[in-house]
Amino acid sequence: MNFRKALANGLLAENPTFRLVLGMCPTLAVTTSMMNGIGMGLAATFVLVGSNAIVSLVRSFIPHKIRIPCYIVIIATFVTVVDLVMAGFTPALHETLGIFIPLIVVNCIILARAESFASKNSLLSSIGDGLGMGIGFTCALTMLGSIRELLGTGVVLAAPDFNFAGLRVIPEAFKALVVIMAPGGFIVLGLLLGFINWLTRKASAHSS
């Protein structure tokens, strides 16, 4: 699979959130606002591209039996880098994402791509795959975060790190707080997945 195909694959056909349904923990937990979603998505993309690249480079040197711990150490290193960079440059985001930044290590997407793609493909394709999956993940998180932020707080585009309080779209009195709490995450994601399933079925019914 070449670079461009791998890129498009991660965005649509095998979108990690909507098609592969991987990496659910951060998806549900951090999508309380659009900026949080974007932040987590970009952090995960950085780790994904980095780890895919390194795993692809060293794939012929890693003994098969201990490959999983090796991948995990590689991924954990990139996660530590992202964690420290975010703590330094985007403290508000770092505070909100909290425990989910180190938890990128066990994000199923990253280990799954290292195991199923990067360990078997060239450097360029692996980077493309990492980028595609990461961007697909970021888009999904952004979409989910925007919806939850809009319904749950009535505000859009709030960005504490840039000192922007966002644009109020729905009056304060009509916001549905439960949407940005735990149940809201589950239900909004479930409905969104159902909607995408419906769109996919319509599209394939049209083409057949």
Partner: protein, 199 residues
């Protein structure tokens, strides 16, 4: 001291349920909950691993990482400890009870990537719990996970026979159901633990 342990235990299971409130351990929660039997197996394995991991990671943090000023290596070291522990647990179970080993099957190695396991290890350090408190928190987290996944599997078994719209079949309806379960657990957030345990 006793009171605080009870508070940690009860909050870990009900008030701050690791799966339904903290969003940790969702992947196995969604993936292994189609049948109650497998859910119970996974739940038990997670309880065991989370308790062990809480103890080991706390010890590593306290005796190695902090004195040597290696706090920034926490992520790497913790995940390695977890991977090693899970491997050890797998070998021990295989020796002691081959039936249990066969029942748990592929779920055991999967626990390595369970957010709840690494999550509780990091949470214990963040909350500055002592060794005993960390162990209780790990135990509570595991029990909470087991409770959530077994409850969920019971519902999903029923759902399998229900008339669900085509687009919602599979993950969508599972997520919506989990959301409803989460709302139910929100009811526990009103607990006054002080009044309950007479502290």
């Amino acid at each position: 001291m006793d009171g605080k342990l009870l508070v940690i235990f009860v909050s870990g299971i009900l008030i701050n349920n690791f799966v339904l409130t903290r969003f940790l351990g969702i992947c196995p929660f969604l993936g292994v909950s189609q049948q109650t039997e497998t859910a119970i197996g996974m739940g038990l394995a997670v309880i065991f691993v989370m308790t062990l991991v809480s103890v080991f990671t706390w010890v590593v943090q306290d005796l190695i990482l902090v004195p040597l000023g290696l706090g920034y290596l926490q992520t790497v070291v913790f995940i390695l400890v977890i991977a090693a522990l899970v491997q050890l647990v797998e070998m021990v179970i295989q020796k002691i009870s081959p039936t249990l080993y066969r029942a748990l099957g592929v779920y055991l190695p999967l626990i390595t990537t369970n957010c709840a396991v690494l999550g509780v290890a990091i949470l214990n350090i963040d909350e500055q719990y002592s060794l005993i408190e960390s162990m209780v928190n790990g135990l509570a987290g595991g029990v909470g996970f087991a409770l959530a996944i077994v409850l969920f599997s019971g519902i999903r078994e029923r759902l399998a026979a229900a008339p669900i719209p085509e687009s919602l079949k599979g993950y969508p309806i599972a997520l919506i159901t989990a959301g409803l379960l989460s709302i139910a657990f929100m009811g526990f957030s009103g607990f006054n633990l002080n009044a309950l345990f007479g502290m």
